[in-house]
Symmetry: D2
Subunit: 370 residues, 4 copies
């Protein structure tokens, strides 16, 4: 594997996350050539220069097309607002770059489809930023399912709740405008969908209902303005495996900060997980003696790979940013043709289709096949 030149577009939260991953992926894993941090693009050129210095990039630019035109760049990290993903990703792919793009793909399904087409046409590697599937706990859950530890999965529930929209007295901002999308559904529903996709494959059929906890929110001068997006989305679904399920999303859920709660019911046991305590999961199995059956709380440990690349002692805990380092390593594995667990543009399109089918189901108040 040759050393790759890295370009990073965007320096917000996710931009920083990618930058941290590019800086740490070699020290953590030790099994790859050193990535060369070549070019950083950020709309504000002064900020671009500053962040390039902080993040260790050689060059900075206010024009992302310059970065894509840079022949030293082999991989492009795209961390800009969703509306820019399609244009940038397609340009990068057409320029022969590999693309690591933040989720979701794009607000419009047609754009997501174009991205998937471009990825296919290019033959290049694409990875979407569905970092929660990179958690060693999630990897281990996937392995337990494959080993049939809880038997056949017949029902799944997943909740994702945060409270950044929970305050009805907060000033109206763009997340309540229709132009931002449907609301909770595409804003963060794609995360639980990525877990479902990773663990079980595609959703086949959906029945969704969305709700507005607050029909209006105050403008700066106090005037109420109609809210156009749905902070709450509740979905009944069926998986292609035949299992039934429920997905419940609420971005106005006071007290929830990063909850992604999963309940997986099988014919011989149950697995539960909550992202707010990302270093543990719960397993109930009927193979325990009856009088001692109970949910086991299992803490991350070196045997849950690749936790051991970070820490050789159990129970010490990974953080959210570490998931991005693992994702970065999986991207490099994928580029190099090694086994890799990621969601590329092709699989990402399945997730986007599920989201849009849910929105359609809400509008038409009926079950929709994905």
């Amino acid at each position: 594997m040759k050393s790759l030149g890295i370009g990073l577009i965007g320096t917000g939260y996710m931009g920083k996350c990618h930058a941290l991953a590019w800086n740490s992926v070699l020290p953590v894993f030790g099994d790859i050539p050193r990535p060369r941090l070549v070019h950083l693009a950020e709309a504000n050129p002064d900020l671009a220069t500053q962040r390039a210095a902080e993040f260790g990039f050689e060059q900075a630019t206010g024009d992302w097309r310059e970065l894509i035109a840079n022949p030293d760049v082999d991989v492009v990290s795209i961390t800009t607002p969703n509306a820019f993903h399609a244009e940038m990703a397609i340009a990068a792919l057409e320029a022969g770059k590999h693309v690591w793009c933040e989720k979701p793909m794009a607000p419009a399904l047609a754009d997501a489809e174009r991205m998937a087409d471009a990825a296919k046409a290019s033959g290049k590697t694409t990875v979407l930023g569905y970092n929660y599937i990179q958690n060693p706990m999630m990897r281990h859950i996937s392995q337990l399912l494959a080993e049939d530890t809880i038997g056949t999965v017949n029902h799944v529930r997943v909740e994702m709740d945060e409270d950044f929209m929970a305050d009805p007295t907060a000033t109206f901002y763009w997340k309540s405008e229709a132009s931002s999308g449907y609301g909770a559904l595409d804003d963060f529903g794609v995360h639980p969908l990525s877990l479902l996709h990773y663990l079980f494959g595609n959703v086949s059929r959906v029945m969704a209902s969305m709700a507005k906890p607050f029909p209006t929110r105050p403008l700066k001068d106090g005037t109420p303005r109609d809210v156009e997006t749905f902070d709450i989305a509740s979905v009944l679904f069926e998986l292609e495996t035949g299992a039934s399920g429920v997905m419940a999303l609420n971005r106005s859920a006071w007290g929830r900060k990063g909850r992604i709660a999963l309940q997986i019911f099988g014919s011989r046991g149950t697995i539960t997980y909550d992202q707010e305590r990302m270093n543990e999961f719960q397993l109930y199995t009927t193979s325990d003696r009856g009088t001692e059956q109970g949910f086991r709380t299992i803490l991350t440990a070196p045997a849950h790979e690749p936790y051991n690349r970070f820490i050789p002692a159990p129970g010490h805990g990974l953080g959210f940013n570490d998931l991005k380092i693992i994702e970065c390593h999986e991207l490099l594995n994928k580029i190099d043709g090694r086994p890799s667990q990621t969601i590329g543009f092709a699989e990402g399109l399945d997730i986007e289709r599920a989201v849009h089918a849910m929105a359609q189901s809400h509008r038409e108040q009926r079950w929709i096949a994905v």
Copy 2:
């Protein structure tokens, strides 16, 4: 208030529960005349005699009509299988007795309607065995909602899960026959519905989907027989208050023993509760300083009435059977015209209607108004 004569029909689990309540309600509360345990009916006359001795009833009979004909009986506890509720309750009401009947009212909606009609016609007191609303924690949650502690409730989730049907290798029995009802929906969905009713009033609109985790179960000789009921039911709903919600039921949920998990989202906070830890609930409120906001785990204490009638020290814990003692006391309050928090036949009918609307929604795959 005069001393009341008590008749008890049925001596299974709930029969015993009622008997324990009738024995303990005076020693616990101290504010009522001693109930006189007059008559016990049980199909098996020998068992009737034995249980009458154990439970402290004066007389025993193998014929419940004898009990209802007994002029010394003022109140009839009905704890027989659901199919018998209507006939017995109506007979008791027509004989001028007050009725304490286990939930649900009856498998058929028409029977439940007849029960409600009979109750109205009789002018007698009726109470259904929705004991979970009697938990001092639930009472306190209700009070907090009334005090606007978490602001306007805009979304509710409730789950009820047990695992008594979770083993696909267990022999087929009557709970998998269509004659037993829909499955989880009426078998225990009425419990979470009773909580919703108690806290928020009626459900106005439902969209339900039921599922069979195991399409067949083995007969005693191993031959598979088709399962006719649904162990899983998932429901989207709207409350008359305007709040949206999700109800998820699973009686094949390995590891869940008596889970009734409630999440109540408001404009200023959140309340959660799980029946498996019935002596506590969680409250998140934005009135705490931002850096110290978190879910508080609040343990039952004497100030959460009527816990103090049982125990004067906090955190020592009530048990499930204690809820029935409280219910019994509320029944006596209701008979005597004192304030009382119970679900009678009139309110119970609302719950039955919601259940049948959910079943219809599943069949027709569309939203149904209750």
Copy 3:
């Protein structure tokens, strides 16, 4: 077994608890003759009459000696303040009664010794009110230890914390006077000691230190008065089994309501328990596969006897008062010569000796052999 006549002395919290147990023990267990509630004594004769009516006792008296002289009384429940235990228990034993006495035995070791002597001389049955050992969870833990599930126990930690003395602005009352005893040590340290005794046998050696969180407390007029007892006690100990341990007590521990937290470390696993969640315990065992080892939360279930006598379904939960019903049943078993798990006066004396050795250790600041 013949029906026994019951006398109850005291009608405070524990008096009510005993009364509830005497009313419920037959309906719950069904395997004993009906106890006859004969006589109730309470210093205030009017209150005695009122409580006799509530609790179902035939006669009431303001003079406990009358009760003991009553030939119809076979068993005496003693629930008065600790200072009265010795006199009453000895009188009852000398009158040929069985004695069920609340814990601890007596403030002075000499009195406890006289009680044990009287019990021995009488040949009658004695049971002390160490109700926490009656929890089906504790029974099951004991059984798991006997089955060697966690191997050889080499270390034990136990904490007992409540907050009824935590407020330094509360008015000085008798619990801060030296005449009430040492403080947390004898006030409630006997409870964790009863668990240690039940699970492991005697403590052999102790090193204790007691502390006053608040050196003074205000009298009613605000004047500070010196506190004479110790709300905090911390103890290093060794068990006769050779295991080491730590006991930590704090009755000024804000937020703790009825915490008795046990951690039992063995050569092949660990068991933990907290009385504030009395319907569950945690088990970690190395017999689980390495990657799935974790603490299992095990909920009470019918297989954990005698939970099934109360409730046939798992996870529904017993309450504190139910423990007293089990204790009552064990007393009756013991009287009748059946196997029984109780702490009588002989074993209770071991606990008292440990307490006094701890107090001596604190005074002399050195290890003391019990």
Copy 4:
């Protein structure tokens, strides 16, 4: 502040941790000059070269003295086994370098004293690797204590438990030899002591008892060999503040992976924390209304600095390695004369003295003043 040249000695777990911190400290914090990774030393020269490439160091050596002699090195990270700390740290200080040394200082108190003397004489900055004090949750707890949120702290309990020595069938290795130290006491007791030091200052008086859960362990051929160290240590203590406390350590505690459980009792509330769930802590305060008082579980959030430097959204979680990045940043702050929360050699010596006083207390079975 000028850019500093970094030397790293040791490439084991902690060596990697320091390397990760040096790579990430600028991208995370953005407010410091880029550290120059100059020199890496590791006894095995081939490994040194390999790790230098992975970790991004310019030069590698098998001889740590070469690194210390390198004029381009301004700061030396020492991550070798404890026995080497004194020699290396003193040499580095004498060569005019700042020193970041892993904990504990040295097995022998005399060596720790020499280290503190050398630090003082050099005028250079020293920081010990007590990373748990860098957790934003711990910082916030410290701030709450300073704000008097729980009033005057009168009692503290701290436990540290892991299970890496819990298997009695595992082969005897150096941690059971007397030459490795006392056992749990110095092996990891220094971590809880660092928390006590950070939050409350020095321990003034100790009474300790150590225990061996397994008196022998098998050699490779199965022959039992006497264990010379103590896997368990239990300590009663007093703080200089006057508060009393208990510290309990067990490195043979099955199921505990990285538990450092803290309970802080104050006159107006209680704080608890467990390192196994390092992104949360619990607060109970009497300022809540009585009926809603309970332990709040508070999740890390941007307002708990410097969490916001890593992640702008609450509840997403830091990992263990992130603590080392914060520690690294504090070291740089300290070097540059900015406010900094660290434990240097002077404060570290207080911790070492407490450890040795505890060992003496165990030997002499009496209280020892630190």
